[in-house]
């Protein structure tokens, strides 16, 4: 019996013992075909899904490599049936290929006639294919390329897309690396993406996804459409692109609710594209406004459904998806796979943290006991009101203040979901509040002030969840949230993970009302963070030590002697 670091479970999860000497090699061997699901302290869990296996096939790995990796690193004998299943699943990929035929244009060809027969008979696929050219080939209308890939994935015969891309209108773009350098993993990510043609790069928040985008643009040297979640994120992109590439302000357009500029590089928000008037999407022309050579999707995991539909029509253009997590709360990971592309690169948070590119974080849950009156209000409240009552309890206020006092000189964010509570906090803490109705101009002013250190504390609502860049936020205090959403947690944590100038530790506090729904949701978040490998501590509000006290934030254990 070998003594490998890997245990293969019947449900196709893989348990990797991280302290094992072979753990690093093993991780490298299984990463192409298994998605990291949880990475707590001792044993990481990977899952082998059909999608992950197909991702591996798309990246050029074959079943033999997968089986070999499983068998070589497994501590216990691996059931034959599981290996057979893995091989069978991988074998399904590439039986069908989409290719360009010099005569007929886009065609679907097969190396296995029975498969082609099966899929063109299926109800889902039949309407998308045209005339049969020969026994192995069938014409596909170019506009159906995306939808066909989607449908084929659903019927379990994913197609390999070899039809290639249009180059788009050339536009000179180069990286300006005079004052900085692309990090190794960013370089690898760009190479992985470019070699594969289209696909998704998964990097943690704060790991410099914007730069991966910029480097991809420099590789494409063509007009580029960048889709982002909101205007602030768009401006952020613009600033970065001007600073890091040869692009000038005039070459970059903003296409948002406020401005409708179309330039060689255009940054558009999801919202403006999905705006409908009289049931029609008003801004679809944008996609045809230029002969785009590259389309970048920021925060793929938030990509709204209408954009998926639009993306289906853009299959001949190179597509780059950027995200911190492929987990979608709506479970549409397979659409990301078929429409944007397979995962081309990913690196676990902890690895990048270990390399010093993102700040180490300490997650602390502070438990607040409600006073009797609040408990009574909570006890008699309607079920749908309960979370709000627990999350916005007055008793939290002194605790939040105390938490902020622990870090008097650090830039801090207080994040919440309920506007009343935020207003109250703003007043009590004497800090400006940023929420949905705050104008973009005002937001940018406040962010700038925060960046320069003029303002120490900001109170922000959900709007700040995404894509704002606050390099110096070292402390985040979360007071209320959206029912324990994993995604929100990842984003909020990302706010403090950007590397600090002096390599300080980041602090991520969650203030929770004890014995209420609030603490139940906190348990979800706690699990998520622990699964991501973060140290997670729970303290009672009463035990929360201030600076200079035993166990306070700056407390260093004295040597015993």
């Amino acid at each position: 019996m070998s003594d490998g670091p890997l245990i293969v479970q019947s449900d196709k999860t893989l348990l990797l013992e991280v302290d094992h000497p072979l753990a690093r090699d093993c991780r490298a061997a299984i990463a192409p075909f298994a998605e990291l699901e949880r990475s707590p302290e001792h044993v990481h869990t990977y899952r082998v899904t059909p999608l992950a296996l197909w991702n591996a096939r798309a990246a050029g790995h074959d079943a033999e490599q997968v089986v070999d990796a499983l068998v070589r690193y497994s501590r216990y004998p691996v059931p034959h049936a599981l290996l057979v299943d893995v091989a069978d699943t991988m074998d399904r990929f590439g039986r069908l290929t989409l290719a360009n035929d010099p005569v007929h244009g886009l065609v679907l060809t097969t190396s296995d006639r029975a498969v082609l027969e099966e899929v063109i008979r299926s109800k889902r696929v039949a309407p998308m294919v045209g005339a049969r050219i020969d026994a192995d080939t069938v014409v596909v209308h170019p506009s159906e390329r995306g939808r066909l890939k989607q449908a084929l994935l659903k019927v379990g015969w994913p197609a390999e897309d070899l039809a290639g891309y249009v180059d788009g209108q050339a536009h000179p773009i180069a990286l300006d690396q005079s004052s900085w350098h692309l990090r190794d993993y960013q370089q690898e990510a760009v190479e992985g993406f470019w070699a594969g043609g289209s696909g998704v790069v998964v990097l943690p928040c704060g790991a410099g996804k914007t730069l991966v985008g910029a480097a991809a643009m420099a590789e494409a040297k063509a007009t580029t459409l960048i889709l982002v979640t909101n205007t602030v994120a768009g401006r952020q992109w613009k600033r970065e692109l001007i600073a890091r590439t040869s692009l000038t302000e005039e070459e970059i357009g903003e296409y948002s609710g406020e401005r409708k500029e179309i330039r060689p590089v255009t940054i558009a928000t999801y919202q403006v594209i999905t705006t409908r008037r009289k049931g029609e999407y008003r801004h679809l022309d944008l996609f045809d406004a230029q002969d785009w050579g590259l389309i970048v999707y920021d925060e793929v995991h938030l990509l709204p459904a209408p954009i998926f539909r639009l993306t289906a029509d853009l299959q001949s253009r190179r597509r780059l998806g950027l995200t911190a997590t492929l987990v979608r709360e709506d479970g549409r990971e397979d659409d990301v796979f078929s429409l944007i592309g397979p995962k081309r690169y990913d690196a676990p948070w902890r690895d990048i943290e270990a390399q010093g590119y993102i700040a180490p974080a300490e997650c602390i849950e502070v438990r607040v006991a409600l006073d009797d009156e609040e408990r009574m209000t909570y006890a008699v409240a309607e079920p749908e009101e309960r979370y709000r009552i627990a999350a916005t309890a007055q008793s939290k206020l002194p605790v939040i203040r105390r938490v902020l006092e622990r870090h008097p000189d650090e830039p801090s964010l207080v994040i919440g979901a309920y506007l009343d509570q935020l207003e109250e906090l703003g007043t009590a803490l004497d800090a400006p509040v940023i929420q949905g109705s705050t104008t973009n101009k005002e937001r940018e002013r406040l962010f700038d002030a925060f960046r320069t250190g003029e303002i120490k504390t900001l109170v922000v609502s959900k709007v700040a969840n995404f894509s704002i860049d606050l390099p110096e936020a070292a402390v985040a205090v979360q007071v209320s949230g959206t029912f324990g959403s994993r995604q929100e947690e990842a984003q909020r944590l990302g706010r403090v993970l950007r590397p600090k100038a002096d390599g300080r530790q980041a602090h991520f506090y969650t203030v929770v009302s004890r014995d209420t729904l609030d603490s139940e949701y906190a348990a979800h978040r706690q699990r998520f963070l622990a699964e991501q490998g973060y140290a997670y501590t729970i303290v009672d509000a009463a035990d929360l030590a201030g600076p200079g006290e035993v166990n306070g934030p700056d407390w260093v254990d004295e040597p015993a002697d």
């Binding site: 302290e41 004998p77 034959h80 699990r527």
Partner: protein
């Protein structure tokens, strides 16, 4: 024919040496007990159809082909020297071996000239796959047969070619009456004979003509399938993987059933709902769950139990089993599987009535299953370690070995798949464990598997996300405890447990204290217990038991706490069994009347209280019996019989009548009692002569009937025949026939 040649089987037997007779008895042990009184008795026993069938069933295709040559010869007796000419492509040693096997078993007799005994002729229905002669089938063949065949269309010719193959009998396609299928056209031309409503037979002459130079069909040589070769070490590792998986799953399954047993259906077996529940809990498919149930049952770890004997529960053997080490546990499963008379793969398939068969249902029993399983594995075991054959090839080999039992081979692929799930074989190659099982039983299996399976671990790794990971199979005690305090999230080589609020509460409910839990986690975990886990335990423990529930019969309350204390301390009220529940409230396990009486006697002045708090001035109630609720429905009227049921009942009555009358007629010979040989003899005679028989029959539901049946065939312990009175063609199990008699010609049953 020279005069000194023996003229009969008995005479020939007399000429056999002792060794040869010994070999005969060894090959056909059923004729040896009890010892036959003389050679004539032996010869007559050898002629018993069942014995002949059995002997023939064990022969391989090559041997049977030689027998066919003798059976098809126009003369009675074939010169052994003529055999090579009849089968030119068969090597001489194969021929000699076949003749040797046949004469040893007395299926052929004679030394130079080989004779086939009559029972053998009867037992081989279609020698060499040929039908009866046209004359026997009463089909007038065209004068110029080759010409008639030459002018046939391709479709018709195709049908004839097929029937000229292995089986001369075929089903008519069900195309309705007017459609002219090729087979029907052939019938019209007189090239096929109809033998009943559904089947046709190809006359021998036509088949011979089509076969041309090979009247006995192509030589039946032993198939030589492609041998699969794999590294034995890899095979063993993969088998061990499957073994671990099976043992783990069975353990989980039975633990689930321990908590919530599955109900026993009235028809036996496990209900679909229970099966679904188990599949969901185990994260497996339903067929997989059915297989696990069957496996657990086969290994004796699961059976019917419970206070009303209506639940599927783990057996006591399970308690011993779980304490054993992995190889022994596996051997128990594999041994149970090898010996079971059930075919687990049939679960979920539809029976003739279109109803899905439930797992563990008695319908899955096939008494031939162990023999088939063993013969399939034995055939694989003939290949050296690390090699074997695929399922289809194995079936081909087995079919060649026992062609007359080919119909029993249908389950073989499923059996092999089951073996693969267990780790007895991997991809057509027997594992060392599988070989051990076959040659040395469970001990052999366990020994062969030892060293391949991991040693159990006695610790877990606790992680901050509240998961506990057991990095290997757990020792039984720890596994038991963990299932109480945590939920299994993923199983296999390791087990991932998750501690949740619910699981901690469950542990507290079953008597653990928070301290116990802290201690347990600290002891069981090799990694430091994460803070979050301790917090979780404390959080749940703080909430646990804050509400208390108990049962009392009555209470005594008062705003005067002093008075209550006085009552409680009063010796005279001891009879009321009062205790203080809270300030101002005393409770008692006795009824309110009794407490009132005790208090009144002790000189207090208590008042009764209604549930709403009002003072009752009268005693709570006068004693009354609980009466029946008015308005309940009376006994329901029986459901009226349907027309079909009425008709069936009438037909049954008339058929019984007629049978009785027929039996009373002097011309009917009755065989009393049940003598299988006698019954069979009579039945086969009836089949041969086409004479109707009177049957006393007990059906599968145990109800007896008497019927007159025109027998069609008798094979494999089943009589097929047409019951004229009931207007149905059906199959009768011979062992259910209680008595039988021939109905002689001219004694037709009275008309309806």
């Amino acid at each position: 024919m020279s005069a000194d040649r023996p003229a009969t089987l008995a005479a020939w037997l007399r000429t056999r040496s002792d060794a040869q007779l010994g070999a005969l008895l060894a090959a056909r042990p059923d004729v040896a007990r009890p010892a036959p009184s003389d050679v004539v008795a032996l010869a007559s026993r050898l002629a018993v159809p069942v014995s002949v069938d059995r002997a023939l069933d064990e022969l391989d295709a090559a041997t049977l082909q030689v027998l066919d040559v003798v059976l098809l010869a126009g003369t009675d007796g074939v010169d052994a020297a003529d055999l090579p000419a009849a089968l030119p492509e068969v090597p001489d040693e194969v021929l000699a071996g076949a003749v040797e096997r046949l004469t040893t078993r007395a299926l052929l007799w004679g030394d130079e000239v080989l004779h086939a005994p009559d029972p053998v002729r009867r037992s081989v229905r279609h020698p060499a796959g040929l039908g009866r002669r046209a004359a026997e089938l009463r089909v007038p063949l065209p004068a110029d047969l080759p010409a008639a065949l030459a002018e046939l269309g391709a479709e018709e010719r195709d049908v004839l070619e097929r029937l000229a193959g292995d089986r001369p009998v075929g089903h008519l396609p069900d195309t309705g009456s007017e459609a002219a299928s090729p087979a029907r056209r052939l019938l019209q031309r007189g090239l096929l004979a109809r033998i009943d409503a559904l089947n046709v037979e190809l006359p021998r002459e036509i088949a011979l003509l089509l076969r041309g130079a090979q009247p006995y069909g192509p030589p039946r040589s032993r198939p030589e399938p492609d041998v699969v070769r794999r590294d034995p070490a890899v095979v063993d590792r993969q088998a061990a993987g499957a073994a671990m998986e099976s043992v783990g799953r069975i353990g989980e399954l039975l633990s689930l059933l321990e908590e919530e047993p599955a109900g026993l259906l009235r028809s036996g077996g496990v209900g679909v709902r229970d099966q679904k529940r188990l599949a969901r809990a185990l994260h497996v498919t339903e067929p997989e769950a059915a297989w696990l149930l069957e496996l657990a049952f086969a290994a004796g770890l699961l059976d019917v139990g419970g206070p009303h004997r209506d639940e599927w529960l783990p057996t006591r053997a399970f308690d011993l089993w779980r304490e054993q080490d992995l190889p022994d546990r596996w051997a128990t499963l594999a041994g149970g599987w090898l010996a079971t008379v059930r075919l687990p793969a049939l679960a979920g398939q539809r029976d003739v009535a279109g109803k899905a068969v439930n797992a563990l249902s008695p319908d899955l029993v096939r008494h031939t299953a162990p023999a088939i399983r063993r013969s399939a594995l034995a055939a694989l075991a003939e290949y050296p370690a690390g090699s074997g054959v695929g399922a289809e090839d194995l079936v081909a080999v087995l079919r060649w070995r026992t062609p007359r039992r080919a119909d029993r081979l249908a389950p073989v692929p499923d059996l092999l798949a089951e073996g693969a799930r267990l780790g007895v074989l991997v991809g057509g190659v027997l594992s060392t464990g599988g070989r051990g099982l076959l040659t040395a039983g469970e001990d052999g299996a366990a020994d062969a598997m030892r060293g391949l399976l991991p040693e159990p671990v006695d610790h877990v790794l606790a992680q901050p996300d509240l998961s506990l990971i057991a990095p290997g199979p757990l020792v039984a005690e720890l596994a038991d405890t963990l299932t109480v305090v945590a939920d299994v999230e993923s199983s296999g080589g390791a087990t991932v447990f998750r501690v949740s609020e619910a699981s901690v509460r469950r542990a507290l409910d079953s008597g653990w204290s928070a301290t116990d839990l802290h201690d347990f986690f600290a002891r069981a975990s090799r990694t430091p217990v994460p803070q979050a886990l301790d917090f979780l335990v404390d959080d749940v423990a703080r909430q646990h038991g804050r509400l208390r529930v108990g049962a009392i019969e009555s209470y005594v309350r008062s705003d005067d706490h002093g008075l209550l204390s006085q009552v409680l301390n009063d010796r005279r009220t001891a009879g009321a069994e009062l205790r203080r529940l809270a300030p101002g409230v005393l409770v008692s396990g006795l009824g309110a009347d009794e407490v009132l009486d005790v208090l009144r006697e002790a000189g207090y002045a208590p008042a009764g209280e209604s549930s709403g708090g009002a003072v009752l001035t009268r005693p709570p109630a006068r004693p009354r019996a609980a009466g029946r609720r008015p308005g309940g429905t009376g006994p329901q009227a029986p459901r009226p019989l349907t027309e079909a049921e009425l008709a069936a009942t009438v037909r049954e009555v008339r058929a019984g009548d007629a049978a009785l009358a027929a039996r009373r007629g002097e011309a009917v010979r009755q065989v009393p009692g049940v003598t299988t040989a006698g019954t069979l003899e009579l039945l086969s005679r009836a089949v041969r002569e086409g004479v109707p028989v009177w049957l006393g029959y007990v059906d599968a539901q145990g109800s007896g009937s008497q019927r007159i049946v025109a027998p069609v065939s008798l094979a494999g312990g089943f009589l097929q025949g047409y019951d004229e009175r009931r207007g149905e063609s059906r199959t009768f199990a011979v062992h259910r026939i209680t008595s039988v008699a021939l109905v002689e010609e001219g004694d037709a049953a009275p008309p309806l």
